[in-house]
Symmetry: C2
Subunit: 311 residues, 2 copies
């Protein structure tokens, strides 16, 4: 797309996700029009972007590529990619799109949303151009965690799927295709499968929450930084069939031993909160701990890039 | 324990796990007596240990602390910690212990097994000193993945629990306490919860196995290298209660949408195998890929240590 002079990306919503996408597109040389309702919001977003780009040692040039606007028409007209990043409520999203669509000028436009929780067919059902719509759900913070779940509706054009995957990859992200609309897509389904079993183990007094977190961060999780569950299995035997021969019965027995999920609330939640305060720190210091996390995510991203260069 | 002159560790079984434990104990200055049935096995283990210690730039001194023996009596007598690392079959383990126990001389000995799959009460039921028995299940490879699950039986003495945790921590491992005997302990239960949902997503055609692995390695997993599922939740909101208020209903809805587990076999397994061959490489090259993995685990272990130093 970049070759044919299609350089304008419209981003609707200047919150954390909208800003991150704006920086990623600008860093790849795209012109970004970043929309929000209030000029104060835009100013806040641009200040944040400026300081983040500085930290990343990006040139001022990238910053100049991002234009903040409060006029939806000027945001979306001529854009080849319109990405909506407004709050996670169906009504809000549908209203923004209803307002924006008449101003969209290109027939080959791609319309996208960063939603993590809503299904593409629910958002785009009443669009003028519903066949041009697709979800691009990023992982937070997108600069250090590159995965994006790309989710078409049943009516999405095939070229929208292939072009969106290509575009996101070209700006340094790792897009994966969710081929069917399922609640939570894939990332959150796996995350919530982990939480369901972790919750039961705390409830049953098998382990403290602090220790259970170590099982991940000092055990399982160091592998998962480099490989998924299937590659882990593949390498733990001589491929999938030998893995199955050795472990399938044992694994099924353990899986069948895991009861139904429970709503995360009540005394078990209190117990986990107390343990997190003791091991992670009080809620009042969460912001510092997020910085602690982000320093690690940034260092790991760099390490992975270096390792891949030296392979 | 080290202070009172208790320096002899007996390790029964010189396979991968036995060797790793031998190196870890020797690196902390313990005298290790490493037993196997055949002298050839011992020689093979010692050659491997030597080359590994060289790679880790450990001194020859450490190597000298490991003595290989084929005589079970001389292995276990005077040892304060006897660690059995023989193959994962209950009968084999029970027989080895039956043979070893009469030779054990110290009343305050700790008896341990590296098993990942057997329960401590099943192994130690008929021991002479069953109250001295506890499981120390490591993660592979223990030099780069430091987690150890410590699992007592209901009859295990309290001091065996506290001393085992302390001892393992003193040699650089991260021990966590499994307070009740559950199948698969904690690490494998979480691993198999992930596999159960991943399997269903492949079966239902939601995603390819290669892409699903990326959801972990380029998304969820980069966080998990540094924090577990509860800290992830804690930082994704303002603590556990705010996480629950925002997401508990949505999460439960998604968890209830995940069907029962299936045995890993048949056409879905074939599909995953084909995708792994394409993305990871053929089964014939698994050994190189394991080295690729271990280079990364070693680099991440170093990165984490450096980051913690600079905090």
């Amino acid at each position: 797309m970049a070759d044919s002079g299609d350089r304008k990306v419209a981003i609707i919503g200047s919150g954390l996700i909208g800003r991150s996408y704006a920086m990623l597109f600008a860093s790849s040389g795209y012109q970004v029009s970043l929309y929000d309702i209030e000029i104060e919001q835009i100013d806040k977003a641009k200040d944040d972007i400026k300081s983040q780009l500085l930290k990343l040692e990006e040139e001022d040039e990238q910053y100049q590529l991002i234009q903040g606007v409060t006029d939806l028409k000027s945001c979306v007209e001529d854009a080849f990619f319109v990405l909506e990043c407004v709050p996670e409520r169906l009504e809000i999203k549908q209203n923004v799109w209803k307002e924006a669509e008449p101003f969209i000028t290109r027939d080959d436009v791609i319309l996208s949303s960063s939603t993590s929780a809503l299904l593409p067919s629910d958002i785009s059902r009443n669009f003028l151009r519903k066949e041009r719509f697709i979800i691009s759900h990023p992982t937070n913070p997108p600069f250090y965690v590159p995965l994006v779940e790309v989710v078409p509706a049943s009516w999405t054009d095939a070229d929208v799927v292939t072009q969106t995957l290509k575009l996101l990859e070209s700006i340094g992200l790792v897009p994966v295709l969710v081929r069917k609309e399922v609640k939570g897509f894939v990332l959150n389904r796996i995350q919530y499968a982990i939480l369901a079993e972790s919750w039961r183990l705390i409830r049953d007094g098998v382990m403290t929450a602090g220790d259970l977190d170590k099982v991940m961060s000092c055990g399982l999780g160091v592998r998962y930084a480099f490989m998924g569950p299937f590659e882990t299995a593949y390498l733990n035997a001589e491929g999938m069939h030998s893995y199955s021969e050795r472990y399938a019965d044992m694994i099924l027995g353990i899986q069948q031993d895991m009861g139904p999920p429970e709503r995360m609330d009540g005394p078990v939640l209190d117990l986990i909160q107390i343990d997190m305060e003791a091991t992670v720190g009080p809620v009042s210091e969460i912001q510092q701990r997020r910085q602690w996390r982000d320093r690690r995510l940034a260092a790991l991203a760099k390490l992975k890039a270096d390792l891949n260069k030296n392979d």
